[in-house]
Symmetry: C2
Subunit: 359 residues, 2 copies
DNA sequence: ATGAAAGCGCTAACAG
DNA sequence: CTGTTAGCGCTTTCAT
């Protein structure tokens, strides 16, 4: 009933326009003719050269070369059912997290001669659903980064296409997972080693698997006692949210805070600086997610590095395993480790421990 | 002769694999049958509903809805010659500059119901050429960001597809330009107003149009006298290059430096901090390119903001103008302004002018 | 080892 | 307004 699913395209350019489809310059036919073979032979020259005699193969290749012929993917796709495209859905390109994944993903895809169809869902589940539907027929598989869809919807999707999830875990579905719980453990170990006892965590989006993992890490660590943790949030994973959160951190009298991601961490830093509070001497700040160039010049910030490019590659790998692999139904999970990076002056809490203060 | 152009795909997954193309679940035919009309009618229901009687239209839509039918783009593309895809080529997704453009681009493309095929050329002209060739038949047009190709090659491309350039200018080709020369002027005005007289510019890639524009701005400003400028570089637009450049700046005894982009600027900052040099009191640093979250927490850095998302949108707009527009041959240039952003404490040079120093 | 023929899903004349 | 016909470029039996 809703006009959402059907909706004949109405925007400018929607109805594929102009160029009437007569004949294209270098079709398989032209090659066939000039090489004095049938189109089937040309086809075979590309799909399985071993089927041809050396002579014909050479001749066909020569002609193809000369006419700079390349098989038409759309036509191929019609007959084979395979598109040679794979889709990547990210919630927000503005978040540096995702281009990094995209980079690794694209690199692996290119090596395998796949094209990448990109979609930015703007953190909007409705839009995400819509865009996925729109591209599902154009791709051989889809990778969803930190999808905002319900498990229900994802399982449904899984039935219609090959699916790989990044940072999301549902049954019988391949996924690349970043070991956020362990990252949290590392961060807490670090801070407690420095003597911090009152540590806050700025919680990210509710639907975020990473976030729930980090919370799990947090709970497990505080259960071991010896430190008091405090969850703040939920926040949007944005700079501005970090700024707002900074005040809460101060009010709560925490000596250290771990932010859902670098964007927020930088926001915290900025607000703290604005209030004349020294980092890390007054408050230590740790940020998840690795945006190296964003935080590299910010030595007062400790980060938990996430191997994003690797995750992208891994996702493509998992996808291909299902698409061309021997066991299309087999699903796998791959867990990638995080790593704590301490750059410059990380400080123990002011009232705190035995170590001498830097600076 | 080079194996580069031909090369039958050899990598895993290259030869479009498995699913043999029998019949697809909900083709136009099924809809036609169930709606008791011909396929043409169904086709028309989507391409130009006004051609049908209200009754048939309603019926067809109902059935289509029910079978969740969507026209197959590959098939459409075969007959119409239009793919509904547009390609975007960026030199490096790792550079936050490009995802920002991509974001705006994607948003506009989506509104017009186009899909985005993304390509990362890794700053490698050879790869760029190759990847463009590979996708040229799959798209209705291509947007090239800061292309590393020669003018020659670009003009050739222009003959084979619809082309829009971002930050590159060649004859008879639509382009979105960012007014870097003016940005440079703003930066220099700012610095000279503060009393700086010895200002350096960390030059970016040689092929970069932005870079040559900025150099032009620099030369024009210094020609007006009253300040001594110094060009350092060329550098790769990366954090590490900024670190290296910082030492040159110090050695040259400059009081202010303008970096080709934020990444480099952050590199400079980091190195300067490492050497115990205070920014902005000892040396003022200005960075081009807007990566808001990267520099927002770095108030000691002044930046010249580049309207990236806007540029992305504009590029898509220009592209559509040619693809579906009335004047396919007409090419346009669009110049977008930059804006200087002074965040926190920008200082006059130490030995310098009349203004009181902050802090 | 190669060719002939059929058809993938769709659109575009051309009738009516 | 709607149906019929003929492909678009390619792959795939099925012959040979």
């Amino acid at each position: 009933m809703s006009d959402e699913e059907f909706s004949p395209p109405n925007s400018p350019g929607a109805t594929l326009g102009k160029p009437v489809g007569k004949q294209s310059a270098s079709s398989i036919r032209n090659v066939a003719i000039r090489a004095k073979v049938s189109t089937s032979t040309v086809s075979r020259a590309f799909s399985d050269p071993s089927l041809l005699s050396h002579e014909t193969l050479a001749r066909v290749q020569a002609v193809a070369q000369e006419l700079s012929y390349r098989p038409n993917r759309a036509a191929q796709s019609l007959t084979t059912g395979m598109t040679g495209n794979i889709g990547l859905v990210v919630p927000d390109l503005g978040n540096p997290f995702f281009p990094a994944i995209l980079k690794g993903f694209h690199a692996r895809a290119r090596e395998a001669d796949y094209s990448v169809l990109l979609v930015d869902s703007d953190e909007n589940p409705r839009l995400e659903r819509q865009l996925i539907r729109a591209m599902i027929k154009q791709v051989d598989g889809i990778v969803l980064c930190s999808s905002r869809l319900t498990e229900q919807e994802l399982l449904e999707l899984r039935r219609e296409t090959t699916l790989v999830l990044i940072n999301r875990r549902i049954r019988d579905t391949s996924a690349v997972l970043l070991d956020s719980a362990d990252g949290m453990r590392q961060a807490l170990d670090h801070l407690t080693a420095l003597g911090h006892r009152k540590i806050g965590y700025l919680s990210g989006p509710a639907q975020s698997w990473s976030n729930s993992e980090r919370r799990r890490g947090l709970r497990e660590a505080s259960a071991k006692g010896n430190l008091e943790t405090r969850e703040l949030g939920l926040f949007q994973p944005r700079f501005e949210a970090g700024q707002a959160a900074a005040d809460l951190v101060v009010a709560a009298g925490l000596t250290a805070v771990i932010a859902f991601n670098d964007l927020m961490a930088l926001g915290v830093l900025s607000r703290l600086a604005g209030r004349g509070i020294n980092v890390p001497n007054d408050i230590s700040v740790v940020g998840f997610d690795d945006i190296p160039m964003a935080t590299m010049a910010t030595p007062q910030l400790t980060t938990v590095a996430v191997p994003l490019e690797l995750a992208g590659r891994a996702a493509m790998e998992l996808l291909m395993e299902q698409i061309v692999g021997s066991d299309p139904a087999g699903t796998h999970e791959q867990m990638l480790g995080l790593q704590l990076i301490v750059r410059g002056s990380t400080a123990p809490p002011r009232a705190g421990a035995t170590v001498g203060a830097p600076e």
